[in-house]
């Protein structure tokens, strides 16, 4: 009897150790917090950047990746701000979702100036797509349809109402002089692929999301991408026109980057910025971007902080109008 008990306890101990062991680390190595579960975009950012930093010799110990899911990144943000405000060995994965939530006050009152944004080194271009057999041919036609009857085009996207996917068509409409943005129909579903399913199924008329989400459906001929929201056409997808060349100057990309705690010295901040630039310039990163459908988008240091501040201000004002900001 005692033997079986021992056996039972030992198995459980093994499982418990393997479950918790992942998050412990040696103290001196740099740590990258991915504010989500393994497998998502933030996890990818930490693992790829961490791996390349070590491979190219920018850090002398492997970067420890810690997953800290919760509140759409808010839990990790709170931890950095409140508990690790001067930890110079800490980097945190961020993306446009981070700035969107900050702009909408969705991190329980914390603001974008409570950390320092180091840079972005790649981006998933924003897109607007329709089903292959849709009557909508280009962005201009879609905008005219919405202007005539705001309810005629319903969008599906992978983020919640007020999220970045929702903002993309609204930014385009604002450029077109359509200001009644609360009239535009949008449903948030579980991810970009689900949004495409709803659009191909005819439940919604258009899908808003990222390029990486639609590549496979595009190749299969299920959907047509009517606009990509970048400065120039995306390499590999030259047939897809930008919103800009259709007369709507909107840049909306899901950038992948990092922030660090506010309390670190300027010297350490510049050091991280330099290391991130090294990663951006490496062949390994070029390959990682190609494999994951990312387009080049490098903004590092002070330049990036300016971009983030502008983005936060834009989204904050639009969110207020939509009524999604508390």
């Amino acid at each position: 009897m005692t033997k079986t008990l021992l056996k039972a306890l030992m198995t459980s101990a093994v499982v418990a150790v393997s479950a918790t062991g992942v998050t412990t680390s040696a103290a001196s190595a740099a740590e990258c917090i991915a504010p989500a579960n393994p497998g998502g975009g933030w996890d990818f950012t930490c693992r790829q950047i961490g791996k390349i930093l070590f491979d190219i010799g920018a850090v002398d110990k492997p970067v420890q990746v810690t997953n800290m899911p919760g509140a759409g990144g808010g839990l990790a943000y709170g931890t950095v701000v409140n508990e690790r405000g001067d930890d110079a060995d800490l980097i945190v994965a961020a993306s446009s979702a981070t700035t969107t939530r900050l702009a909408q006050n969705a991190y329980a009152g914390m603001t974008a100036d409570q950390v320092r944004f180091v840079g972005a080194i790649g981006a998933d271009p924003g897109i607007i797509a329709v089903a292959a057999d849709s009557d909508i041919q280009d962005l201009g036609q879609m905008v005219e349809m919405i202007k005539a009857d705001p309810g005629s085009v319903a969008f599906a996207g992978g983020s919640a109402v007020g999220g970045f996917d929702h903002m993309k068509p609204l930014m385009v409409l604002q450029k077109a002089g359509f200001t009644d943005i609360t009239k535009v129909k949008y449903i948030g579903v579980d991810g970009g692929a689900d949004a495409i399913t709803q659009t191909v199924g005819g439940f919604t008329q258009a899908m808003t999301g990222d390029m990486s989400e639609v590549v496979s459906f595009l190749a299969n001929g299920d959907i047509r991408v009517i606009a990509v929201l970048t400065d120039e056409r995306v390499p590999g997808f030259e047939q897809i026109p930008t919103a800009k060349e259709q007369g709507f100057d909107v840049i909306a990309v899901n950038w992948r980057g990092l922030y660090v705690p506010k309390g670190i010295s300027d010297a350490r901040f510049d050091e991280w910025a330099g290391k991130l630039q090294q990663v951006a310039d490496s062949d390994e990163w070029a390959q990682a971007m190609k494999d994951n459908g990312l387009a080049p988008f490098t903004k590092v240091g002070g330049d990036f902080q300016g971009y983030v501040d502008g983005l936060v201000a834009d989204i904050a004002s639009m969110s207020k109008e939509l009524g999604v900001t508390q």
Partner: protein, 501 residues
């Protein structure tokens, strides 16, 4: 015969001594993860992803290991449901209803073997379905919009009343408590937090596992303390472990039907394994009628949910592979794994990466056979664990589940919530309110609300949109029948339902 050639390709990728070893290890770890309340298949796989990176596994090896863990956990969940009356994970919830009474009747070994066989049948048929029908079935997802999903969830809730205990009103109250808890968190249709009290920890809502462990394990512990360790319902009569051929023969049609129901629920991206096992159980219960004595420990009541949830687990791979839409929490994690291996599931996956797809299917078949072989002898081990006195076993299980919950988020807040759920579970049981509908309310309520809200957004609040397609109308009729029929049948039979618990 292209399928067979593809399958041969799959086995050539997945079948080597090394990958076989990984499959066995994965199945074993998965079974344990599934059996431990607090560690479900999705966190099991999530926790192991970093380990597969650390081991430097290649794409095929990582896939074999993960699918073995995935299927292993689906098998393992039933063990604690049957032996402890604590579901090891969400889909194993329904197995407690008949599994535990059967174990109390002195048939713990039979219940475990039977559920193992049912799991095998469900998973095997689902894998076959995946092989033959995946490209066709993928189109089914295009037919389901918000209105159809809402009607599907409504069907589940309408049949709920007849499920637990003898008092329908109490089931309804329990389901409403669950629905209320499901409201907590950021509202996806407005982006605003609800009922969170400004607490960041509540923004993502309440995790099912916290609710399950709290309502079942912690509440049990409170009862145990109250009775000074004497009155606990834990501790079942042991029997000899043999293969109950009679039960297997008797329940075989049930397994086939439940596999079908489960598979279809799994294929729909918005449904998943929990709904699959629930619908399988309720279908069998209504087929058997009052004489079926569901809820008292009948073999069919074990075979149905187990075949159902394992078939749903296989079915959930269809939308994941062909559309990139995960049909359940665990397939979401598997999807993430594929993406980190630089494979993006979607309509072109079968064409562009046949080695990955068929390697995955072959490893599913391998894992399934390994699990069946492994589970029959292992039943003895699991049953023997119960010879440990309850005063050691119960705190032990509680300790492990608490560790598991803490490992999920690393936040003490979930532990406080766990105790809160324990207190809730204690009082509900004192009042004789069943706790299973509470969990179902949490599991299905959020999805049902999202579907309704999306439907209302698309239709400008026009309720007729909910009846706008033949599929939706069909589901509404089924739901209304499921709700009304038991009332009339009871009148005709003029016999109060046997008081069972």
């Amino acid at each position: 015969m292209e399928t067979l050639a593809n399958l041969a390709l799959g086995f050539s990728v997945a079948l080597s001594p090394y990958t076989l070893m990984l499959a066995v290890v994965g199945c074993f770890i998965g079974t344990i993860i599934g059996a431990l309340p607090g560690l479900g298949p999705s966190n099991g796989v999530a926790i192991l992803i970093p380990i597969s990176f650390a081991l430097g596994l290649d794409a095929t090896a990582a896939l074999v290991l993960m699918t073995a863990v995935y299927y292993g956990a689906m098998y393992g969940g039933r063990i604690s449901s049957i032996l402890l009356n604590i579901p090891g994970d969400e889909p194993a919830l329904m197995t407690t209803l008949d599994g535990y009474p059967m174990a109390k009747n002195g048939e713990a070994g039979n219940a475990l073997v039977l559920s193992g066989v049912a799991s095998f049948v469900g998973a095997f048929l689902a894998t076959v379905g995946l092989i033959l029908l995946a490209p066709v079935l993928a189109r089914v997802a295009f037919l389901f919009g918000p209105a159809e999903y809402f009607a599907l969830y409504l069907l589940a809730f309408c049949t709920l009343g007849g499920m637990a205990s003898n008092n329908q009103a109490k089931s309804a109250i329990a389901a409403c408590i669950g629905l209320g808890i499901a409201m907590i968190g950021v509202d996806s249709s407005s982006g605003l937090p609800r009922l969170t009290g400004g607490n960041l920890h509540l923004y993502d809502g309440v995790d099912f596992l916290v609710a399950i462990v709290g309502l079942f394990a912690i509440a049990e512990l409170f009862f145990f303390i109250e009775s000074h360790g004497k009155g606990s319902s834990i501790g079942v009569v042991l029997d000899k472990v043999s293969i109950p051929w009679k039960y297997i023969r008797q329940t075989f049609p049930t397994m086939l039907r439940s596999s079908g129901v489960g598979f279809v629920a799994g294929v729909l991206p918005g449904a998943g394994a929990s709904l699959g096992s629930f619908l399988a159980y309720m279908t069998e219960k209504s087929i058997a009628g009052e004489k079926g004595k569901f809820g008292t420990g009948v073999p069919k009541g074990i075979a149905a949910p187990e075949a159902g949830n394992n078939a749903a687990a296989g079915g959930a791979l269809v939308p994941m592979l062909t559309l990139g839409v995960p049909g359940s929490g665990t397939t979401a994690v598997l999807l993430a794994l594929l993406m980190t291996l630089n494979i993006t599931p979607g309509p072109t996956l079968f064409r562009d990466n046949p080695d990955v797809v068929w390697g995955l299917i072959a490893s599913l078949l391998i894992a399934n056979v390994v699990l069946l072989i492994m589970n029959v002898p292992m039943v003895k081990i699991f049953v023997k664990i119960l010879s440990v006195p309850a005063w050691i076993l119960l705190p032990g299980v509680t300790m492990i589940s608490t560790t598991g919950i803490f490992a999920l988020t690393g936040s003490y807040f979930d532990l406080l919530m766990l105790i809160g759920f324990g207190v809730l579970g204690y009082f509900l049981r004192k009042l004789d309110v069943p706790t299973v509908p509470v969990i179902l309310g949490i599991l299905l309520g959020g999805n049902m609300e999202d579907a309704l809200r999306r439907a209302m957004t698309l239709s400008d609040g026009d309720p007729t949109y909910l009846f706008s397609s033949p599929i939706a109308i069909g589901l509404w009729i089924a739901a209304i029948l499921g709700f009304v029929a038991p009332m009339f049948l009871r009148g005709i039979l003029k016999k109060p339902q046997a008081v069972t618990d």
